[in-house]
């Protein structure tokens, strides 16, 4: 390995890969989450604590159901990307890959479970 120059050794280790896209994705999901999260807190907070039949009736209405579905979809997407930044800051190698894959599995499974459940209640 002694023949590789310092420049060659450093090339590709820094930033300037897909950071711009990642950053833009965080911005887009952040802006989308602003109204969504506010509406979700108000609608979910309003129905939480009610009996089963009222909860079912509430999420059969299109507006509460759509807010919940979009919040879960965009929220877990934002979380998966955000958690990835954290993982990349503190870990490397196989640990990093494993954690990123794990976080993605968890986030998209959670979103799918939630959305399937809401659609099932609504229909």
């Amino acid at each position: 390995m002694g023949f590789i120059t310092d420049r060659k050794r450093a090339a590709g280790l820094g930033s300037a890969k897909t950071g711009t896209e990642h950053h833009w994705h965080m911005m887009v999901t952040s802006v989308a989450l602003l109204p969504l999260v506010l509406m979700f807190i108000l609608s979910f907070g309003a129905i939480l604590g009610s009996p089963y039949s009222e909860v079912i009736a509430y999420y059969q209405r299109p507006f509460p159901a759509m807010i919940a579905i979009l919040t879960m979809l965009v929220g877990f997407n934002h979380f998966a990307h955000g958690a990835r930044s954290t993982i990349e800051d503190y870990t490397g190698g196989l640990t990093r890959k494993g954690l990123i894959i794990g976080v993605n599995c968890l986030s998209y499974s959670a979103a799918a479970f939630a959305i399937f459940a809401i659609v099932r209640i609504a229909l």
Binding site: A68, F79, A117, R120
Partner: protein
């Protein structure tokens, strides 16, 4: 050529002289400041929101499964422990939201002076507490 230290793929690997690295500088080597503290708390609150999120997913899945499953999940969420999680998560959400907005403002090239950022941080901290109290009272 002298033996080179092995270079890795993440920031701590290139730390050849063992100098302290961010974010493990706060407290030990660096006095806590509004800038550093508000930054790390944006991360901590964002990550911790996973707990409440998964609890809410459980609640939806239980509601879709039927009255018995719903009673279990709903009982947990409305218990004192579930309430405690939701209370702190509401604060974490407002904190993360207000400091997320600061990122969006920064990205537009505004409010980049340290004193402006610190003023925003102080106002947003108070704002996150007020919004949490508002939600607790209203809902």
């Amino acid at each position: 050529m002298a033996a080179k230290p092995k270079k890795g793929t993440f920031m701590a690997d290139n730390n050849q002289d063992n100098r302290p690295l961010s974010p493990f500088m706060i407290g030990q080597y660096y006095r806590p400041q509004w800038t550093s503290m508000s930054s790390i708390f944006t991360r901590i609150t964002g990550l911790s929101l996973l707990v409440a999120s998964l609890m809410i997913v459980w609640w939806f899945v239980a509601a879709a499964s039927g009255p018995e499953a719903f009673a279990t999940a709903n009982g947990f969420i409305t218990s004192w422990f579930g309430d405690l999680i939701l209370f702190f998560s509401t604060w974490a959400m407002f904190y993360h939201m207000l400091f997320g907005i600061r990122h969006l403002i920064w990205d537009s090239g505004r409010m980049l002076e340290v004193d402006q950022s610190e003023m925003y941080a102080q106002a947003a901290l108070v704002g996150s507490v007020l919004l949490t109290i508002f939600v607790v009272i209203v809902l």
